[in-house]
């Protein structure tokens, strides 16, 4: 294996791609911003001083992907056909997962664009939240998969580790939602495909159950609205959840129907609160 950005004399050069065949190129990259739980809560409520953090970070990531060639010296300018930047708030690990996807039909790969989108989206998240939390860290920026071109398909899961980790350090994959397990009160470990949904106060009495486990595959969409629909598909009595007054919390923070969920989340539905 050689480094294509170095010529025979070991000098940096831009690879001539004129004769390469155009193929569909795709790349997916991820990263995370770890922060204090209170910062994450503020972010999910939209309570940060600079305004809508995720919308701004998303635009920043998309813009950055388009300008990758201006930042990375030997990168070609590409006419991307698709760029998406998605965020998942992870209250269990106090972080925001950032995922970028880039696609084009062309002669060079788009992994640098996806990685740049993730990096700049993470930096923008930092900028938007730093007024309340300067200790945030940007972690695990990495390529997850890439398709098309001479090297074909590459997936992180099947690729060899690029660095050796110390033995006492948990592998990064441990924080991935897909490998999270929920421990339920009975002591049995439920699988990652389950979603625990709790009902509190009057709703617990009305449904005659404190909680229910949903399989991830039952969800029509990966958000709170999808959880409600999956429950209603099981039993029409859960239509009561569509009442405007019913509140919802995801991993202990209040959220709305549109809030995205990940495997292993703790979801709770409850009536309007009446403490004090």
């Amino acid at each position: 294996m050689t480094l294509t950005h170095l010529n025979a004399r070991g000098e940096a050069h831009m690879v001539d791609v004129a004769d390469k065949q155009e193929t569909r190129r795709e790349a997916r990259a991820r990263g995370a911003v770890h922060m204090q739980a209170s910062t994450l809560a503020l972010l999910s409520e939209g309570g940060l001083p600079k305004g809508d953090v995720l919308a701004t970070a998303r635009i920043a990531g998309i813009q950055a992907a388009k300008r990758t060639h201006e930042l990375i010296p030997l990168c070609h300018a590409l006419a991307l056909s698709k760029v998406t930047v998605e965020f998942t708030l992870d209250a269990e690990h106090d972080c925001v997962h950032v995922e970028a996807f880039c696609r084009l039909n062309g002669r060079t790969g788009v992994e640098m664009e996806a990685l740049t989108a993730v990096s700049v989206a993470c930096l923008t998240l930092y900028d938007m939240c730093k007024a309340v939390d300067k200790g945030m860290t940007i972690d695990g920026v990495r390529l997850e998969e890439k398709r098309g071109g001479r090297s074909g398909e590459w997936l992180r899961e099947t690729a060899p580790e690029s660095t050796q980790r110390p033995e006492n350090e948990a592998p990064e994959e441990a924080i991935e939602p897909s490998s999270m397990g929920l421990i339920d009160p009975s002591g049995a470990v439920s699988t990652a495909s389950d979603l625990k949904v709790q009902f509190l106060a009057e709703l617990r009495e009305r449904f005659e159950m404190p909680e229910i486990l949903l399989s991830w595959d039952q969800l029509p969409s990966h958000d709170i609205a999808g959880v409600k629909l999956a429950l209603i598909n099981q039993d029409p009595k859960f239509k009561a959840l569509q009442n405007q007054r019913v509140l919802c919390a995801r991993n202990d923070a209040m959220c709305q129907d549109g809030a995205a969920i990940v495997r292993g989340d703790r979801i709770a539905f409850f009536p309007p609160v009446t403490g004090g």
Binding site: A37, L42, L200, D252, P271, V273, T274, G275
Partner: protein, 153 residues
């Protein structure tokens, strides 16, 4: 800012809490304290007791978040929030909110703010018991309006 959050079924003593909040500090110029108590009349006229339920884990986080937000809005030196759970009888204290600041205005307003947010954002639910049965207490529009006014201030 010193934040103390407690959710438990035991009684509390406001005087003890005030000493705890101000211990070792001579820069606190004002302490404002609010105590909420169980009434013997509410949605029905003959309330004999109530049971307070909460959502362990989320409750503490929600209260901490409310205290932290108060600390961002006003120059506070300390906040104590105690909320009781379980069965309570008329005359029992349910909730204590105590704020400490250099000057009274911040302490007054922050205490007011914390109660308004607690009533609309912290996951507590009251079930009132009467001689003729029990019922879950409904939310009050006035509580929501009280909390809403801070959104625009």
């Amino acid at each position: 800012m010193r934040i103390a959050i407690n959710v438990h079924d035991a009684r509390f003593d406001a005087e003890v809490e005030q000493q705890r909040l101000t211990a070792g500090r001579s820069d606190v110029g004002a302490v404002v304290s609010f105590t909420g108590r169980v009434r013997d009349f509410n949605e029905r006229p003959d309330v004999t007791a109530l049971t307070l339920e909460h959502f362990p884990g989320m409750t503490e986080k929600a209260l901490h978040e409310i205290a932290r937000e108060a600390g961002e809005r006003w120059a506070l030196q300390g906040v104590t929030i105690i909320h009781r759970i379980g069965r309570l009888e008329p005359g029992d204290a349910i909730v204590l909110v105590m704020t400490a600041s250099a000057h009274r205005r911040a302490a007054f307003e922050a205490c007011d703010f914390i109660m308004d947010y607690l009533k609309t954002r912290a996951p507590f639910w009251k079930k009132e018991h009467t001689d003729h049965g029990s019922y879950w207490v409904s939310e009050r529009q006035s509580d929501r309006e009280a909390a809403d006014r801070w959104e625009h201030s």
